[in-house]
Amino acid sequence: MTDSPSSTPAASVAAADEPVLSRPGFLQRFSGMARWEVLLLVVLGLLVLEGTRLSKYFISGSNFSNLITAVMEVAICALPETLIIITGEIDLSVESMIGLSSALLGWLWAAGVQLEVAILIVLVVGILGGLLNGLLVSRVALPSLVVTIGTLALFRGLADVILGPTAISNFPAAFTAFGFSTIPGTPVPFTLVVFVILGAVFWTVAHATWIGRQIFAVGKNKDAARYSGVRVGTLKMALFVVSGLVAAFAGVILTSRFSSATADNGTGLTLVVVTIVVLGGVDINGGKGTIPGVILAVFTLATLQNELTLAGVSSEYQAVAVGLLLIASVTVPYLARQIGPMVERVRAGRRQPADSIGPGEIVS
């Protein structure tokens, strides 16, 4: 023992260090992250099975395009919302930006502005709205919850001021077709193409670029990120601007799909957007989440809503289902986290580990 070759301990140290030093393999990383996505896939599979039982038209091209177009506005808004929530902030104002965008588009069109120009102006207003959110959050250092509750009222108010209670509906057919029609000969809606492109961009940015790494770093530990050279404020501001721009574009799509511009378009959609993000496995406290998870959540929610419609459930009760889904999707991971340690505790034969003693309890 005393004369053991010196290389052995060194080798064993190196061996022990190896898993720490080496980057985790793709599969290892994936398995940790993907459990939630797999669960979502299973849920989606079950929903599809249920759908085929509900109606023989469920698996049909036309139902597919109906199901998809109904959620595309919230789906594209969920992409930037995901990144914002990963940084630990939230944007509740998207539904009002959708309304403002719709109202402004209608007003500009009614005032005789060329449609392309009107859409461009609307998108610029989206950027400005996002900039307002971003400036107040990053420069004045206000909590995004209260800022976007403020702009939730402000943007909706501006929509009211611009259009009042009237509805503009004499849009050209080419424009309104964009919202609900499909690529000729296929059941693929135009809006799905938009979502796929945006989804690919957000997927790449979030999971394969330095911007994505900074976003996760900010969400995990803002101060550590700042000391490592991440410009936290600028990053957040950029995300809010993107969110405003995308929400304004969603407003254009919604106007096109409804063939109608009103000031109250989009009311209540924030609930759906946040539900999609949370259902997609994104931690509402920031730092964790994936774009593929959120994309899966879009299809899960779309299928659920479609089936509820097929089953004759009215939109009021569908909102209840969305609310329940939202609460369930935060409760299930919590319970899952509890079950793991509980099983271990039972195995170890101990009632409670020392660190879980509640406040005010006496340690015996």
């Binding site: 939230i90 107040l136 004045v140 250092a141 206000l142 909590p143 919850l145 209260v146 800022v147 509750i149 403020g150 702009t151 939730l152 009222a153 402000l154 943007f155 909706r156 108010g157 501006l158 009211d160 001021v161 009042g164 000031a263 209540g268 924030t270 609930l271 946040v274 539900t275 949370v278 509402i284 406290n285 009215s314 009021e316 009760y317 909102a319 209840v320 969305v322 609310g323 329940l324 939202l326 609460i327 935060v330 409760t331 919590y334 319970l335 509640g358 406040p359 005010g360």
Partner: protein, 341 residues
């Protein structure tokens, strides 16, 4: 003690001190702004001061103030309750429904409304504290679930005064010595809750949990119990607001009180309660509600378009919180300079 505290600020001018004191106390600032606003409106529209107008403004503001006090309790603990408007709508409808069936007496129906509000608030609090879930997500969910319950109860019906027992809606127009009954109720609620916060351990725990939940746990405060109680009380007060809402508005729909959560949160924030938890008073929240009510009334009297209202509420929220942040930053700088000196 008094001499000690007087030494340091005495270096600055009286005017500067007045500005900081008033600026620091949101209640005083709001009071000043409201007086200026009222004077301005009176000059342009003298009917502002007519008893009927004042009664209407303060009665509506009283309902909002009661809801805002409940919301303030939750926000002080660094949580938020977005479901209050659905609680108000649901209780208003259920109370009206009970009364229209003439099975319970009027006070019993009111008690049922309060109980319903309490139960809904407890449900929020239980889910949030038992599962340690973020309140914004849970109450965004219950916002639509409670509204769904209202649709379920209503089943397409609407309730109006003709279906109610005689004397149901009378309280809303009753006055004592010229003061509307609802205002007295709101003042009573504010006083009771303010004393609760000031004099009881629960009140101190509320602020402790809101400013630093971990530290509060370390010194033995049961933060989850405290948060649960805050949500329960918020539900109870929303129930009370719902009962009053039903009396004030003769006709009640499943969608009654939709969208007012924005106004309630605005009132709380404008009233100086920090959304980041741990500070603010219920008096401020109630004054915030009155301030927003005054703005609404001013728009009406000055014949400005009602469409402006939402935009103004949004602007007021943003200005109030920005002013708070800038003022704090300035105070911190002044404090730093004082230390350097």
């Amino acid at each position: 003690m008094a001499a000690n505290t007087a030494v340091a600020p005495a270096r600055r001018s009286v005017a500067a001190r007045v500005v900081t004191t008033v600026g620091r106390s949101r209640e005083l600032t709001l009071f000043g702004v409201m007086i200026v606003l009222s004077l301005g409106v009176t000059v342009r529209a003298p009917q502002f001061l007519s008893p009927s107008n004042l009664t209407e403004v303060t009665t509506l503001a009283a309902i909002m103030a009661i809801a805002a006090v409940g919301e303030a309790l939750v926000i002080i603990t660094k949580n938020v309750d977005l479901s209050v408007e659905s609680t108000i709508g649901l209780t208003a409808f259920v109370v009206a429904d009970i009364l229209s069936q003439h099975t319970l007496s009027v006070p019993e129906a009111w008690a049922a409304g309060l109980g319903l509000g309490l139960v809904l608030g407890m449900a929020n609090g239980a889910v949030i504290t038992l599962f340690r879930l973020p309140s914004i997500v849970v109450t965004l969910g219950t916002l639509s679930i409670y509204r769904g319950l209202a649709f379920f109860v209503a089943g397409g019906r609407e309730m109006n005064l003709a279906q109610m027992p005689a004397g149901y809606s009378n309280p809303s127009s009753q006055t004592f010595f010229g003061i509307p009954l609802f205002v007295l109720v709101a003042v009573a609620v504010v006083v009771v809750v303010a004393l609760l916060l000031r004099l009881t351990p629960f009140g101190r725990h509320l602020y402790a949990v809101g400013s630093n939940a971990e530290a509060a746990s370390v010194i033995g405060i049961r933060s989850r119990v405290t948060v649960f109680l805050a949500f329960s009380l918020c539900g109870l007060l929303a129930g009370l607001a719902g009962v009053l809402w039903g009396m004030e508005f003769g006709t009640i729909y499943a969608t009654s009180a939709s969208g007012i959560v924005l106004q309630i949160v605005a009132a709380v924030v404008v009233g100086g309660v920090m959304i980041s938890g741990g500070s603010g008073t219920v008096v401020g929240a109630a004054l915030g509600a009155l301030f927003l009510g005054l703005i609404n009334n001013a728009l009406l009297l000055l014949l400005m378009p009602q469409e402006l209202l939402q935009a103004i509420y949004g602007g007021v929220i943003l200005i109030a919180v920005s002013a708070d942040a800038l003022l704090q930053r300035r105070e911190r700088r002044i404090a730093a300079e004082t230390i350097v000196r």
